[in-house]
């Protein structure tokens, strides 16, 4: 009998919130080896294998089908692969880990209040400075799609994997696209979000992989697990997986 592989965040606040949410659903996750162990179990569902991974790794492995079900953010799914969102089913939002992917630019840009302003600024910048307006971000796919929807073509992405909010001050980029939960980091760096600058409202989700190998056994385990969260959720998700 094949066993369902569930991946949950391996550390920090996300791990704790995930374990709390599962416990509330009657699915207490045990991590017998403590924080250094990468395997866990659920007593109520002994056939399910639990693995502890980083949230972005979970996103990648859901897309490639190496794990069946996982807890991760929609932002990370989008970022792992351009069309990654098509390879998964978002089964259930878990009401924690809320964060927005936003466009943020210097407070001193008093002429920019909306994305349409940014379209003009990008165009002007290239004509005036002979170079592209630079956007620092780790959200390359989301940024390209959002900017393109707003008809902004005159910019370049500078990939940034940490402390993105410092990019304007360090001169690495003119503006940023970053994730924020309270906005305090942006405020501390004198950055503001244009009125239509929220690209994605993300939160932790239970996500199932469409590309995983779904045997009848595993489908049954998935249904049983999801029904703990809400009765009927299992059926709905399985039919979406095979649609």
């Amino acid at each position: 009998m094949s066993s369902l592989l569930l991946a949950v965040p391996s550390k920090g606040r996300l791990e704790q919130d995930t374990r709390d949410a599962f416990e509330k659903a009657g699915l207490k996750i045990d991590r017998p080896g403590g924080a250094r162990s990468y395997l866990g179990t659920i007593e109520a569902l002994p056939e399910v294998t639990v693995r502890f991974l980083s949230a972005s790794e979970i996103a990648r492995e859901l897309i490639s089908g190496k794990i069946d079900l996982g807890v991760t953010g929609e932002d990370l799914i989008h970022e792992a692969a351009e069309t990654g969102i098509n390879q998964v089913v978002i089964a259930k939002p878990l009401n924690f880990g809320q964060a927005d992917v936003v466009v943020a630019l210097p407070n001193s840009w008093i002429d920019v209040t909306a994305m349409r302003d940014l379209a003009d600024v990008a165009s002007d910048f290239r004509h005036r400075h002979g170079q592209w307006l630079r956007v620092a971000t780790k959200y390359v796919n989301l940024t390209r799609r959002y900017f393109s929807t707003h008809g902004i073509a005159e910019y370049r992405i500078v990939e940034s994997l940490g402390a993105t909010e410092a990019a304007p001050a360090s001169g690495a980029a003119e503006l940023i696209v970053d994730i924020t939960s309270s906005g305090s980091t942006l405020r501390a760096n004198e950055l503001k979000v244009p009125e239509d600058g929220v690209i994605l409202k993300s939160e932790a989700n239970l996500v199932a992989s469409k590309t995983a190998n779904w045997s009848e056994d595993k489908k049954a385990q998935l249904q049983a697990l999801l029904d703990h969260f809400r009765s009927g959720l299992g059926d709905a998700t399985v039919s979406e997986l095979t649609a």
Partner: protein, 366 residues
Amino acid sequence: MAKTEIDFDAARAELSSRIAAVAELVSPDILQPADLFFDLAGEDIGRRLMLTSGPDGTAYCLRPDFTLPIAAQYLASGEVGQTKSFGYLGPVFRQRDYGPFEFDQAGLEFLAPINSDKTFTETMHFAIEACALYGETMPRLHLGAVDLFETLLAKIDLPDVWRPRVRDRFGHDAAMGRLLDRLAVPDQFDGADDLPQSDDELTKMVAADMEAAGLSPYSGRQAEEIVARYREKQMLAKAAVPAKTVRILREFLSIAGPAHEQAFRVAALAKKVGIDLEEPLEKLMGRLTELKAAAPKIEVEFDAGFSPRLDYYTGHVFELTANKTGEVLASGGQYDRLLERMGASDRVSAVGCAIWLDRLEQGAMR
């Protein structure tokens, strides 16, 4: 797989000899510095590139087309300004929504041609005949005229600051539409109204904000630049650009359909609003007359808003599409600003086209 009468190897050999008859066949490196493409086309092309990076962090890509590598080679050769004709046939690499990421293209690039107009005609006929080689004898020809739009834009009653912004959106219908909407009915001014009235003081205030945030006063957007655009936004909210200007631009951009009729519509519009478009119009009429005589079977459509969204195109641009499926089989045009954008000291005229061999072959099998 469906049967076809066409021997693809023979067709390629024939195409290749036609290219060699008018140009030097070249084959630039498959691995190209990614900056070459990003610098010219920005992030729009970024999602299409097959990227990799070297140990020193340099980003490379598999060539997504031949035009830029050929132009770069020409620039590096130190013969800029000399008339050169290049041709190619080989694989290019692009991420796309369907179809393999590696596919073959053939094409021509004429750099500093002696007579751009004549070269454009030859290039277009070369593409038409390449389609015929694969059994597509009646492709539709989609024609655009960047020079016509640029002439109109230069002469129309519009604050100068808006001209480059409008130009940048040419070829992108949705973005252009939104911009024209804003010009017609400006938004309520949404800036703070408690800011200093004098430009001097406002600039000082912005500069102080920048300093507080640790922004460099020497790179990126400057305080003067921000204030200038802020004032301009204030002005626009008070006095929109003339309604007539937006109406003319909208009417012009909506002109599309059977080519001869459309050319007359452009002429009528120009006359009605008193803007002289004679020179580019005459060129367009000449092109249409030539096409009617040389390729009477080809349906020609003129679309006043049609252009690749790349600002180095300058003259006529075209696309050949499959008569039945509408798929683009070949595209080309005049792009006199490309070499200058890449660093040439002067403008160097250039004309070229690319042919989608994979689509022609698939079309032949249907």
